[in-house]
């Protein structure tokens, strides 16, 4: 058995787990607000319903493992998981979809591995991928954004959540779907002929991404995580998009700006891959981790079968993270790197 040897000096953060989690929750607020503005109250309801369920499941799991639920429930970590998952789920999803996702995330993604601090995969993304593979239809029906379709009210949203069959909303293909299915239209023509495309990316989506970017930058400013992983991911995603842009032909994979402001890019860059447990540990490792997520994100988005690729890219890199850590161990303070260091 070999342990990772992260050597001194160990920096100490003045924040405890609960404060970090609170900051993350707070930073999602602008993104949630913009999502709610463009797609209606569905996301908010998802978050509330998912949060209650997640807290209950966490309490049960802690009770089963003879841990003190009081202490661990108060660190907000399960609320962060459920909130991140519910942001990623389509608004107006039926209750059983959310429940399955939360169950997979909290139990399969987290507690089976030993709870907070031990989960090798990002729990929210585990929940998302389980849902995406099991219920592709429900997972890919997104409400049309404000201006393109009617936004449901609160009552309608509640019925959509609890009486799934009765709800008949206006769903539309997302810009990423449209781009992938585009055959024969030049990119400029596609943008001007399809109402879902906005100024830079998709109507609504561009602002959602900008809001998450703002939240993420605030978190970096607060020192919750370092800039390495997000920046590396955004750079490689931009580079890949620039290479595949093809000057906007019908085969084009979309411009870098389009990819930065589409789907889950900013949400993923600042809220998912910065998870300190399932990501890489050292700064060099984070650079590699983020860069590879960016490459995979682009490849699966453009050529894969799924509506967005973030969850898969993250899970694949979570799987690779311990290996990345193994080879990016920081050098002991005061020593020069030697070959004998790797056993």
């Amino acid at each position: 058995m070999s342990f990772l040897r992260i050597t001194s000096p160990h920096g100490h953060s003045p924040l405890d787990t609960a404060q970090v989690m609170q900051a993350v929750l707070l930073a999602t607020l602008p993104g949630i607000a913009v999502l709610t503005w463009f797609f209606g109250p569905g996301t908010l309801l998802n978050i509330v319903f998912g949060g209650v369920l997640a807290l209950a499941l966490e309490a049960i799991a802690l009770r089963l493992r003879d841990r003190d639920p009081q202490r661990q429930l108060k660190d907000y970590s399960v609320l962060v998981t459920s909130t991140l998952l519910c942001i990623a789920l389509p608004p107006y999803a039926p209750w059983w979809l959310i429940a399955t996702g939360i169950l997979s995330a909290v139990i399969l993604g987290k507690h089976v591995f030993g709870g907070l601090g031990y989960n090798p995969f990002n729990p929210a993304m585990v929940g998302y991928v389980v849902l995406l593979i099991s219920f592709p239809l429900q997972m890919s029906s997104w409400q049309a954004p404000r201006g393109l379709g009617e936004i449901p009210g609160v009552t309608e949203s509640l019925t959509a959540l609890f009486v799934p069959a009765s709800y008949d909303g206006v769903t539309m293909a997302t810009p990423l779907d449209l781009l992938r299915q585009n055959k024969g239209l030049l990119l400029d023509d596609l943008f001007s002929s399809t109402p879902q495309f906005g100024q830079w990316a998709g109507v609504g989506w561009e602002w959602v991404n900008i809001a998450f970017l703002a939240g993420g930058v605030w978190l970096i400013y607060r020192g919750i995580f370092t800039w390495h992983a997000p920046l590396a991911m955004l750079i490689t995603l931009g580079l890949c998009a620039a290479i595949g842009f093809d000057s906007g032909s019908s085969e084009s994979g979309g411009s870098p700006l389009f990819h930065w402001l589409s789907g889950a890019t900013m949400f993923g860059a600042f809220f998912i891959i910065t998870d300190p447990v399932s990501g890489a540990t050292s700064n060099r490792g984070r650079l590699i981790f983020g860069a590879l997520v960016g490459v995979l994100l682009y490849l699966i988005r453009v050529a894969g079968n799924y509506p967005d690729a973030l969850a898969f890219a993250v899970l694949i890199l979570n799987f690779a993270a311990p290996f990345i850590d193994q080879y990016t161990q920081p050098v002991t303070y005061g020593h020069k790197p030697t070959k004998e260091d790797d056993e």
């Binding site: 058995m1 070999s2 342990f3 990772l4 493992r65 399969l108 993604g109 507690h111 089976v112 591995f113 030993g114 709870g115 031990y118 090798p120 995969f121 585990v126 991928v129 389980v130 593979i133 995979l296 490849l299 699966i300 050529a303 894969g304 079968n305 799924y306 690729a309 969850a311 898969f312 890219a313 899970l315 694949i316 979570n318 799987f319 690779a320 993270a321 311990p322 290996f323 850590d325 193994q326």
Partner: protein, 192 residues
């Protein structure tokens, strides 16, 4: 032509990964993944055996079984040919290069009788691969196997220090991790 070969290789390594997508070679995947070091030795041995087996079985099939009209004997003849070739190589390596034998030797007999090895040989025939394609398919399968085995070993080393609940300790948590990794690899579907 070259692009086709590159796609075949990439497709075999990632999209149709032998372990996580086609579920072949699960026993060494679970059995030899407790330590990163042994996993690497196993990977090297597997790469050697799979590539060799793929080529040998292709040659056996094309130059022996098809001319003699004995294609229905392919399973048993592949087993024989692969076992003989690998065992022979192992003996040669043991006598000629003790160092290489220490690195590869112990894993060679282990992997020879594995389903991934026979799987590669039979899949080559099923998919009507030519010589170069068979070679690349065997090599790609091995690289894919090695990739996930090494990543999985690194992850299991970390899991040994995790506070896993008692009922899930050991093989159970390994299976769950492998399952989640398999879910992740489904994301590659459609890529090639």
């Amino acid at each position: 032509m070259l692009a086709d070969y590159a796609l075949l290789l990439a497709g075999t390594v990632l999209v149709n990964n032998f372990v996580l997508v086609q579920f072949l070679g699960l026993c060494p995947f679970m059995g030899v993944s407790n330590k990163l070091e042994t996993a690497m030795g196993m990977s090297a041995a597997t790469t050697f055996v799979l590539t060799l087996a793929s080529v040998c079985s292709y040659l056996t099939y094309t130059w022996l079984l098809v001319p003699l009209d004995l294609t229905y004997l392919r399973t048993i003849s592949f087993i024989l040919v692969i076992a003989v070739v690998v065992q022979f190589t192992e003996m040669v390596v043991r006598k000629s290069s003790p160092l290489l034998h220490r690195v590869l030797g112990v894993y060679l007999p282990l992997i020879t009788t594995n389903c991934a090895v026979l799987g590669v040989a039979l899949l080559n025939i099923n998919q009507a691969h030519n010589f170069t394609q068979s070679l690349l398919y065997g090599f790609g399968a091995a690289v894919g196997f090695s990739l996930v085995l090494v990543l999985f070993a690194a992850m299991r080393e970390r899991l040994t220090v995790a506070d896993v609940p008692e009922p899930f300790q050991g093989a159970a948590i390994g299976m769950i991790t492998a399952g989640l990794a398999s879910l992740a690899f489904m994301g590659f579907a459609g890529l090639v």
